[in-house]
Symmetry: D3
C-alpha cells in the first residue's frame, strides 16, 4: 500500500502527557529474585505513543514532571533520544520504577510496580507547558494518568479541556491497570473525561471490566462512539485484531503474526501509528493498517519504544517477512 505522506512539511504536531518510568528487566530466563543484572529502559504509555508517532513523521512533545536528579534525567534522556521533545517540570518526588520479568508460556510476563510517590503525581497545569498542548494538532493521554492521583485526574481534565478549546484532536486510551485502581473507581473518573475525547481507544477486555460493555467489539465501538460523541472509537483485542467505529461505519483490522522479543508497548505503538496516519490525513482503514503494522514491528524490538521507520511499516504492509534483505 502507499502510506500517507509521512514526510509532510510542516509535520503534524502531537503533545502527550503522562508518567514515564524507569523499567528494569532481568535477562531472558532470569528471575527478579535471582538476577544480578538489570537492563534499563524508559517507558510510559504517553511517551511511547509520542515516540511511535514521531517515528512516523509527527513532531512530538511529551509533558511530565520529574525530580531534578540523575534518575529523573535518565528518564528525560530516554524520551529525548528517540526524537521526542521532553517538556518536564521538576519537583519533589520519586521517579516511578517498574520491573518487567519476561516469562513466556505458561509463566507469562509479570510486572512489579514501584511507582508510589512519583513526582508526576503532583503535576498541575500551571507548572506544565499547556501552551504546547494548545499549539499542537493533537493531544494524547491515557487512563493511567488520572489513575495516579486525584491531582492528576484534575490535571488530565484541564489539559483535555485546553486542547479542546484550542481545536486540537484529543485522543485517549483507556489503558486500565488493575494494580492501580478498582474498575468502579476507574469508571467514575474516566467517564466524565470521555466527553472531551475525539479518538477513544479501548481494549475489549477493559470495556467489559471498567465500562460493563462486553458485547461484540463492533457494537461496543459503535455504542461508545455514540454515547461519548467520539469521531473514532477503536476497540482492540490483542491477537484478535481491532475494530473501529467512525462516521457510522465499522472497520475490522487483523493483528499480524510476530516473532515477539518484547510485548510491552504494543498497544502504544498501535495508537502512535493510528494517530500519525490520521494526523497526516490518512483514512481510518489506512490508519488501522499502519497501527497494526507498527504494533507488530514494535514486538520485534526490545524496550517500550517503537523504534521503527515508515519504510519498515510499508514493507510490513507489503507482506513483511523473515528473510534477509541483502
Amino acid at each position: 500500500m502507499s502510506l500517507p505522506a509521512f514526510d509532510d512539511d510542516p509535520a503534524p504536531t502531537l503533545a502527550t502527557f503522562g508518567e514515564s518510568m524507569l523499567r528494569y528487566s532481568p535477562p531472558a530466563g532470569e528471575r527478579l529474585e535471582t538476577t544480578d543484572d538489570l537492563a534499563v529502559h524508559v517507558g510510559g504509555a504517553e511517551s511511547n505513543v509520542a515516540v511511535a508517532a514521531n517515528r512516523l513523521g509527527c513532531e512530538a512533545a511529551w509533558l511530565s514532571k520529574l525530580p531534578d536528579s540523575p534518575l529523573g534525567r535518565r528518564v528525560e534522556r530516554g524520551v529525548r533520544e528517540h526524537g521526542v521533545e521532553p517538556l518536564v517540570a521538576t519537583g519533589e518526588g520519586r521517579v516511578g520504577t517498574y520491573y518487567l520479568e519476561p516469562g513466556g508460556s505458561p509463566r507469562g510476563t509479570s510486572v512489579v510496580y514501584d511507582r508510589a510517590d512519583a513526582a508526576v503525581r503532583t503535576a498541575t497545569p500551571d507548572e506544565l507547558a499547556v501552551d504546547r498542548v494548545r499549539e499542537a494538532d493533537a493531544f494524547y493521554t491515557s487512563g493511567i494518568t488520572p489513575a495516579l492521583s486525584a491531582t492528576l485526574a484534575e490535571t488530565t481534565e484541564a489539559l483535555l479541556e485546553a486542547a479542546g478549546e484550542a481545536g486540537a484532536t484529543r485522543a485517549f486510551d483507556l489503558n486500565y491497570r488493575a494494580k492501580l485502581w478498582a474498575p468502579q473507581e476507574a469508571a467514575a473518573t474516566l467517564r466524565p473525561l470521555f466527553g472531551h475525547v475525539d479518538i477513544l481507544v479501548v481494549a475489549a477486555r477493559d470495556a467489559a471490566t471498567v465500562l460493563d460493555r462486553d458485547g461484540e467489539p463492533a457494537t461496543v465501538a459503535r455504542e461508545l462512539a455514540a454515547d461519548y460523541d467520539c469521531d473514532l472509537v477503536v476497540v482492540t483485542r490483542g491477537d484478535a485484531g481491532a475494530v473501529a467505529a467512525h462516521d457510522d461505519e465499522t472497520y475490522e483490522q487483523d493483528a499480524l503474526a510476530t516473532d515477539t522479543v518484547d510485548p510491552v508497548g504494543t498497544g502504544d505503538a498501535f495508537v502512535g501509528g493510528l494517530l500519525a496516519t490520521r494526523l497526516a490525513g490518512g483514512s481510518v482503514p489506512d490508519a488501522l493498517e499502519v497501527a497494526a503494522a507498527t504494533a507488530a514491528l514494535k514486538r520485534t524490538v526490545a524496550g517500550d519504544a517503537a523504534v521503527v521507520t515508515p519504510e519498515e511499516v510499508a514493507a510490513v504492509l507489503d507482506g513483511g517477512g523473515d528473510g534477509i534483505d541483502r
Copy 2:
C-alpha cells in the same frame, strides 16, 4: 484448582543426597569449541528436587560431600541461595563439572561431563548427616548417585535403610545416565534398592532400557508398583505426560506446552512438585498436576533450579498464559 496448603506449619521436611555440579554453558548459539564466556550454574538431581520442594513449602536439606575450596563453596552457595540447607562433608577430590551446550532442533542440547574423581564419590554414612535423614518426613535420591561409585552405591542403600527405619517416605528417581554406566550394570545395582523405595519415578525410556519393561506406561507403572511394593510409581514420558499407579488406580497427567528457555532440571522439578504436594497431604492426581506445572514453569527459567512460587503454580493450573500481568 486449590493447591494443598503449602504453608503448613510446621512445614514438611525433606532430605536429599547426591552430587551437585558446577554447570558451565555458553551463550545461546555459541559452541563450547568457540565460546569466550561461560555462565555458571549449580545443579544436580538431588539438590534440584530439594529446591523445587522448598519453593513449594518444604523445609529441605541436601547432603553431599565437596572439597574445601572456592569451587566447593561455589556449589554449596548455589544450593543455599535457593533456601535449601547444605549439609556438606568436606574431603579430597574434585568438584564435578559439566558443560551444557544448548542447541535446539536439529542439533539438540549436548552435555559434556567432567565429573571424574569428585569428592562425593567417597562419601560414607559416617561423614554424612544421617540424623537429618532420620528426622525428615521424606528422603530422596536418584539412580545417578549409586552410578558414581561402589562406595556411593553402598551409601545410598544405607541412607535408604536409615530413612526407612525412621519411618520417612523414601522417594527415588531412576534417572539413567548412559554416559555413567551400562543398562545391565544399572539394573543390577538399582533393583535391590527399589525394595527400600516408597515413591518410584522412572522415565518410560529408562524403564525399557534398564528394566526391560517397554509396555504401556500404565502397565509398567502398575507392574513396578507390584514388584517392588511401592506406594506410588510414576512413569514419565517427557512431552507425552506421565502415568501414575497408586492403590490399584492409575492416573494420567498431560505435560504442558512451554516456551522453553532451559530444559535441564525439568524432571527434577516434576519430582519436587510431586513430593511437596504429597508431603502436604495432597492426593495423587493433585500431586501430578502440581508436578506438571512445576516442571513447565522450570522450563521458562535459566539454570537447573525451579525458581517458582506456589502462586505461579496455581496460576498455571488455572490456565497460565503468556500475557502481561499488570
Copy 3:
C-alpha cells in the same frame, strides 16, 4: 546413514577466493540505531564454504587480500581460528564491513553494507597464491567476487582458468546480491564464467532474476547443466529444499526444520557440505543430504561459520532432535 569417509588420509583439498568482512550485529531485539554494543564476527561466502568443508574433513585454504592493520588481522584470525589457512595478500584499502540486524517476523533481518573500497577489490592473480589453487582438488568462488570490481571479475576468471588447467573441480555459487549490482550486469559478467564451472549452485530466485529462468527447479537445473556443460547443478529454494541435476538424473532434497539462531551463512554451509561429500567420493544424493544437514546445523550456531562436526551431521541424518544427550 553412513557418511562418506570424512577422515580420508590424505584429506581432499579445497581452495576458495573472495572477500571476507567484519560483521557487526547488535544484541537480539536491539536496533542499529540504538545499540551500544556490537558483536563481531567474520564472514564471507568463500571463507564460509572453506570453513564448512574443513569441518567435514577437507584441508581448506582461503585466498584474499586485506590491509596490514588490526582490522585486517581480525578478519584473517576469524578465518584461521576455524582451521582454514588464510593466504592473504596485503595492500591498500579498507576492510569490508557489514552490519547485520536480526529481526524476525515481520521485520525480517536486514543487512547494511559498508564495504566500498575494500583492499580485496584490487586483488590480481600475481599477488595471490595461485599455486595453491592449482594444487587443490577443488576451487570455489561465488558471484559476489566478480561483483565487487572489474579487477576482481578478471581475477575470478583467471583463477577459474588456472584451476581448470590444473584439473581441479571448479565450484561456483551464483549468490546474487542486489545491493552490489543490477541483474543484467550480473548476467553479463557471470555467464562467461559458467563455462569454467563444474559444480554450479544457484538459488531458484537468482536463476529467475539474473538468468531469466523461472521454470520448475528441476528443469532449470537440467537446462543450466546442459547449457554450461556442468557436471552438477544444484538449484536451491530455501525452506523448500533443493534440486540437483547430474548425469541426466535429477535429485530432490528437502530442507530440514530448525530452531534458527542465525540464518546468515546457511547457503554457504550447504555448499561446504556438498563439496566435502563430493570430494570425499560421496554420491550426489549423499552430498545433498549432507549439505542440507550442514545447512540446518549452521542455523543453530551464531556467526557465519558452520561450526559443526561430522558426528553432528550424521546424527541429524539419523533423525536429529531437540533432546538432551547425557
Copy 4:
C-alpha cells in the same frame, strides 16, 4: 600472626538488626544518567557485618522486615547466599533501594537513595525474632537503623535492652548518614542508646559532627568509653587507621594500602572482623589487626559483602601481596 581459633566449635553466635537494600550500580565509567545496565547487589550495614563475621567463623543471623515480593526475596537471598540466616518479618512497604555511581578522583563515588517507605521502617519487636537476639553471644546494629523512623528508634532500643538482659555483647556503629538526618537529631536519638552498648565504633568525622568531639582520636575514644561505660570504643579514620580504647589502654591500628575495586562496606567489614575476633576470644590488638585486614580485603571485592576467608586474612597479616599464587 596466628589468628584466634576461628573454627571454634560451637561457633560464637551473632545477631544483627537493620535494613538491607537493593544496590544498583552502572558499569565502571558509566553514569546513572546514561546507563543501560545496572548490576544488582544487596547491602546494608547490619547484614554486611553479619556476613563478615560469618566468613570469619561466627554463626550469624540478620533480623529485618521486607515485603513478600520478588524484590523482598531478592534481598533475603542476597543475605542468605553468604551464609547468614535471614530472620525476616514480612509486611507492607517498599524495598529500600540505592544507586551507587562509582567515580574515582576527582568525581568521587556518589550514592542516590530511593529508600523511603521501606517495610523495615515499621518493624516492631513483636514481629521480630527477639529470642534469637537473646540467645546470641552478641548483638549488633548501627546508627542507620534508628535514623529510619521513630518506630525503628524504639525497636532498636528494645533490642539492645533485650540483648543486654540476656547477657549478650552489644555492638554499635554510629554510622552517621547526612542524607537521613541532621546531626542534632542523630545525637538526641543516639546518645541514650549508647548506655546499652558494650562495643562502640565511631568514625572520627562522625564523632566531631554528631557528638561534638573533635579532639585526638585516642582522647575521643577514651572519653567515649568513660562517658558511656563501654568495654571497647574504636574510633576509625579511613586511610589513617583506627584507635581503640579498652581497659584504660589505647591501641593504634594502621589501615592497609589496597587496590580498591569497591569501597562500599569497608567499615562494616572492619566491624565484622573486630567482632569475630573478640567473640572468638582474641585480644583487642588482634581484633584491630583482623578488622583492618578484613576491611582491606573487602575493598578488592565487588559488592557490599566481605567475601573473604580466614586464610586470606591470615595471609594479609603475614604480608599480603599482589603476586600470583601458583
Copy 5:
C-alpha cells in the same frame, strides 16, 4: 568558588559544525585483533564541545551531514541524547568510523580511523542551517573539519564569516591530526581562518608542529593573540595545564589529577567548559578553572561526551575527592 550563573535565562546559545563518528572500542585489555565485542559511542570534537557546553547551561546545536541510514541515525541520536540539537543535512556518503583501542602504559591508546568518504565531506553552506549559526551567541569548529576535504575547508570559512557578520563569538581549536594531513598543509589552510577567530585554542605541541611556534606557552599565546587579533588564546599542555592570553594579560591553569577511565574528549570538554563560562559572562581565570574541572571530570566518564553537571564542576573546584557521598 562560585561558578558563573549557568542557569541564566535565556541560556547562551552555541552552534558548532563538524564531523561526528561512530566510535568502536573493545573491552579493557582486549585487542581489536581479537575482540568479539565492540562498545559503540558517538564522538567528534565539535559535537563533544556542544555537549560539554550544553551540560553547563548553554543551548547548543550541532551542524553536520550524514547519510539517511541506520548508522547515520545512530550518530544523530548519540548527539541528541545528550541534549544537543542535531541540525543534520542528509546525503550520499559513509558514516565516519573510528576504532579506539585503550592501552595504558607502555602500550598507549591507539586510534584506527575508517573515516574516508564520509557524507560530511561534501557539506556546503547551502545545505546547512547557517541561520542557526547567525542566531547563536557563539560558533565553534576545529581544525579537523577543514582537514577532511577542500569543500569542508571552504564551508568552514563560510560559516566563520557568517558567524562573524552576525556578531557571534567565533571559537576554534586547532586540533591537528597527523593521520589526516601534513603540518604544512594544515598551516596553509588554517592560518587564513584564524583571522576569523575570536577564541583560539591550540595545543602547545600543535603550535610547534603546525605553526612553528615552540617557545614558552605564554609567549606563544601572546604572539598568536597579537598576530591573529584574537580576544583570547589558550595554549594547552595536557597534564601540564594551560596558559591563556587575553587583554595583554596571561593566565596559568593547572591540570587536575584524575583516575582516568577514558581520555578521549578531554580537550573538547576543556573547550566546552571554557566557552560555557565565557558565554555566561565569567572571567578568563574562572573560565580556565571550569575548563580544567570539566576536562578532569570527563576523564572519569566512558565515551567522548562530558556527561557532567555544574554541581560536579563546582565540587571539583571546591576540592573534589574520591570519597563516598552519602
Copy 6:
C-alpha cells in the same frame, strides 16, 4: 632502537611442547565463590612462548596431546587463532583447567588448578610430531612439563635429545610450580635435563628454592651457565628486571613499568621475545630489551597470549607512553 629483522624470509622456526589449559576467570572484583560468569582463555607456558615468538616473526608450532572433545578443540583453537600451528595427538584424558581469580593488593591473584589426569600426561614421543622438533631452529619447553608425570619427564628428555641431535637451539624455563611438586623432586628431575639446554631461563626465586642458589643474580647466572654449559642463562626477578650470562659477560635488563591488566603470561612473553630476537640474529642485550618490552606489553593485554606487534615492541623501546596515537 632498531629491532632485528623480524620479517626475515624464511622466518626462523620454533617448536614447543607442553600442556595448555582452559583458563577460567571471573570478572574483576568477583570471587570464584560467587561468580555467575567465567571468561575463557587458553594458556600454557609452552604455547604462550610460541605465540609471543610467532608475533615477533617466528614460525611456531606447539606439540601437545588433547582429548578429541569440544573442550580439547577449544584449547587447540585457542592456540591456532594466534597463528601458532597446533600439532596435537589425541587420546584419553581430561583437558587441564585452571581458575584465575585476579585480586590486586593486598589480596593478590590466586590460581586454582583442576588439571589432574590431563590427556597430555601420557604423551610419548611416538605419538608426537618429533620430526617437527628436529626440523625447527629451536625447541622450547619448561619445567612444568616434566612435573606433570613420569611419562612426561621422559618425553621431555627425549624431545630435548632429539632437538639436540638435530642441531636445534634448546631453550628451557625452569618455571617451578609449588602446587605441582616439591623442590627436591623438581631438582632431581630437572638437573639432568639442563645438560641438554642451550638457553636456560630461571626466576631468581626458583633458583633459590629448587636449585639452592640464592646469591647475586649475576653470580647465579654465571654459575648456572658454567655448571650446565649453557650458551645463555637468564635469571629473572619480576619487577626488578633480569640478568643474563653469555660468553663470560653479564647483562642487566630493567623491567618496565606497566598499567597491568593481566599479569599471567608475563614470563612467557619475556621468553618469546628473547627467543625471537636471538633466532633472528639479535645480540643478547637486544634480546633482553625485546624480552622486557614484550613482557611489559603482555601485561596490558587480557589473557595468557602476548598479542603484540613488532611495531609496538619498537615503540616501547623508543619510549612507549600512555598517550593517544591519532
